[in-house]
Symmetry: C3
């Protein structure tokens, strides 16, 4: 079992229930991970993911080995058949097979480069580990998705939703730097598994990958989208059609208290880190309706659920055998 | 309970006694930290503090998560109300609240910038975490103090002092780089809690913050200061009045064997790292009277005492609740 | 006991047998390392060594503290008597003595600089720690040797050798960057302890240190060397005589399937990371005869054997005493 995409969730409602159960007794399965090792490989910076995933593993009694590939390891080659006489010192094939021998689960963070759409869509790093690793892979944010984040988002919405079928709005907001679409993409995929009135709002030109959004509703008028919303999930992303570019930085898209007044007393969500007074005003993020801190707290339980599910699939490891055959995926 | 300043010590003599007791049986409280997590956040390099604090936490059975903010995380914004459209990706408010959910204690290292006296005196990073974190904070060297170092210094002096009221000299020494005043400042504050004949000696222009030194004796003649001293504590710092500048690099201030002859067979102390033959000659630091290695060893027990005291104040954590209310400080 | 060179192995055959035994039950000595701490200090990048040594320590129940000296600590001075008014902030003497107080074993990686042969041969960093540390030292690749790698190589050859006395070929191969001789050097020293037909092959000018190779056979015709070989161990290194230079990058030295046909169905070995289609063709490294992944797996058991041997020599540590006297080496 891997967890690299929202598609790896068989039943979102069951997963969310299990995660909430874990949250109520986080140390209950402290023995499950005994003598199991999580390898966390970072190709990009990380705060929440780094600490919450580590914490989740510790709650399960696992050992954790953290490695920043960019400054602690070697530059990797991902192309099959490459003549490696340039910058890369090691091929993903060896790296993934070797690390699989030291770890029972490998978690990977590798952001989109935002230069080459095709390459990003191919999820070079994640796909390389999926192809060559012989142990389960967990996605700690890839080029096109951040499924641990979206699972935490689902848990948080479950905790804060009221009785009726909620209206959930994913709203683009401006940002001074070009950011990946990963969080928004996984959020859309996760929402498509929910019974909700789901609306995406952004300026024209900021349409997400249409193969992902499919028939999810897009409303270009942010005010209209906010009407009667129960959850406002804000996030910036760079253009997908004009790939990786900032084509709009209109401050009118910043989430303000006035806009929140259009909603049904909506909860405000953001994956963090968030640029205050650019993405959202202090007034909104500091209000009672802001649940960004609770959302970040649920990162631990999302990760713990995923690790727990994987640990339960792991047959007792025969340590004296070199793992050569690829696992069933 | 936090430990961010010497002022957090209620009784120095009791703390020193407790630390010496811990040193004699460092694993006695191995269960106290079980399932508790120390988050160590570094905004600057660290050798002794990094390893001794980690070791202290392990001795108490804690989990440790180490993070170098500068290359592993996001640049933080510390100003309230800032429009975050520049370099900083995350506000201290979110960072501190979020990390508090993954850790039971947060330890922080954030040096003085030595450019803006007011900003350094405001202890921007430490104060930000104190304001927004919901778990205890430990200072692993801030802009204006290094209280874990000074506690280790007090332990070391207690171990090596003879019967009588000792004469303790804090002596400035030259250094090729501008260094913070933090170690010297905390040392002065710690000495003011001791029954000792305490003298600070440095060239004119190197007066420490007068709000700290108060009526502690300053002697500008180093030789005179050294007379009959029992402990020579050497440390460089940059000018406080001409803030962060090197206004003197007179090699006559280097601690030599000849100067040590003026003392009452004094012990030589330094917090390390030390520049040999600039701060102190090889002859002195390699002599029997040098206790710098013992001093560094006590870093573990100073940290362990502080962590132990904090752990004992922690109510059994309700893991399923998001901590929203600020702790009593 | 230290492990800084192949010379520290008293009986290679016994060590290899013990390592294979450990591999069959890697968690058998989980209690041996309880409350013992391994400090891993990196002056250079590392993937396999970083993770396998950590894994080995965890298998023995040890605590591990990892530190990258280059960006997390201070620049060290190694010269005795230096007037430290330049870049280095701390002398190896203090660093080694201090870290010895926080760790029970110190493991170090410090590559050759490939500029100053004399300095590299002096193993400045490793020798500094050996001289001043008061706890055992493990070499995770120094300037002139990589004995953990060679021990893993010996384990791997033992597992894959057939009945008869094997022919083992160490073959140089081209590489775009100048690499240290460390791996090749330790391999030669290890092979000199084995009963095998051992041949080194490389272009003229790539002779390794003659004080190491002694009377080991050198064959300048790679094809001739490969004839009837049972193991082809490939590795690039820069020139030793024209120190640190690339004097040849002849692609004819790349290990190809055609060359492997000259052998006795030889196993292909490489320490990794390996440059595909420069050092060796995809066809060879992806063939059934390639055992590079198994070889990397044995890094864990080589490290675990070394740590286990050292742990068994450690007297119960008197934690309340400062270690001042140097250990027996």
């Amino acid at each position: 079992m891997n967890y690299t995409s929202i598609k790896d969730i068989d039943s979102l409602s069951k997963w969310v229930k299990s995660a909430i159960k874990i949250k109520s007794k986080p140390l209950k399965n402290k023995k499950l991970g005994k003598n199991k090792t999580l390898g966390m490989l970072f190709f990009n910076p990380s705060l929440r993911t780094r600490l919450s995933t580590q914490k989740a593993a510790l709650n399960l009694g696992m050992n954790v080995m953290v490695m920043n590939f960019t400054n602690e390891g070697w530059t990797l080659e991902f192309e099959d058949g490459a003549i490696m006489n340039q910058g890369a010192s090691e091929h993903i094939k060896e790296a993934a097979e070797v690390v699989s021998q030291y770890c029972d689960i490998i978690a990977i963070r590798a952001f989109a480069g935002l230069v080459d759409k095709e390459k990003d869509n191919a999820e070079t790093v994640m796909a390389g580990f999926l192809k060559y690793a012989t142990v389960p892979i967990v996605n700690m944010e890839g080029a096109t998705g951040h499924p641990l984040q979206s699972l935490a988002d689902a848990i948080t919405m479950e905790e804060f939703k009221t009785e009726h079928r909620p209206k959930v709005v994913l709203s683009w907001a401006p940002h001074p730097k070009a950011l990946p679409q990963a969080v928004a993409t996984s959020f859309v995929e996760m929402m498509q598994l929910q019974d909700a009135d789901f609306v995406i709002t952004h300026p024209k030109g900021y349409e997400l990958n249409p193969e992902i959004t499919k028939d999810s509703k897009i409303e270009y008028d942010q005010n209209k989208a906010f009407e009667n919303a129960d959850f406002i999930y804000t996030k910036n992303w760079s253009s997908y059609s004009d790939y990786g570019k900032i084509t709009n930085s209109d401050p009118n898209w910043t989430v303000t208290a006035d806009k929140m007044k259009l909603t049904n007393n909506a909860k405000f969500m953001h994956c963090l880190p968030v640029r205050r007074n650019v993405i959202v005003t202090d007034e909104v993020i500091d209000s009672e309706n802001s649940i960004v801190i609770e959302q970040a707290n649920n990162r631990t339980y999302a990760a713990q659920l995923v690790l727990q599910k994987i640990l339960m699939t792991l047959a007792p490891k025969e340590a004296n055998k070199t793992k050569k055959s690829k696992k069933n995926k």
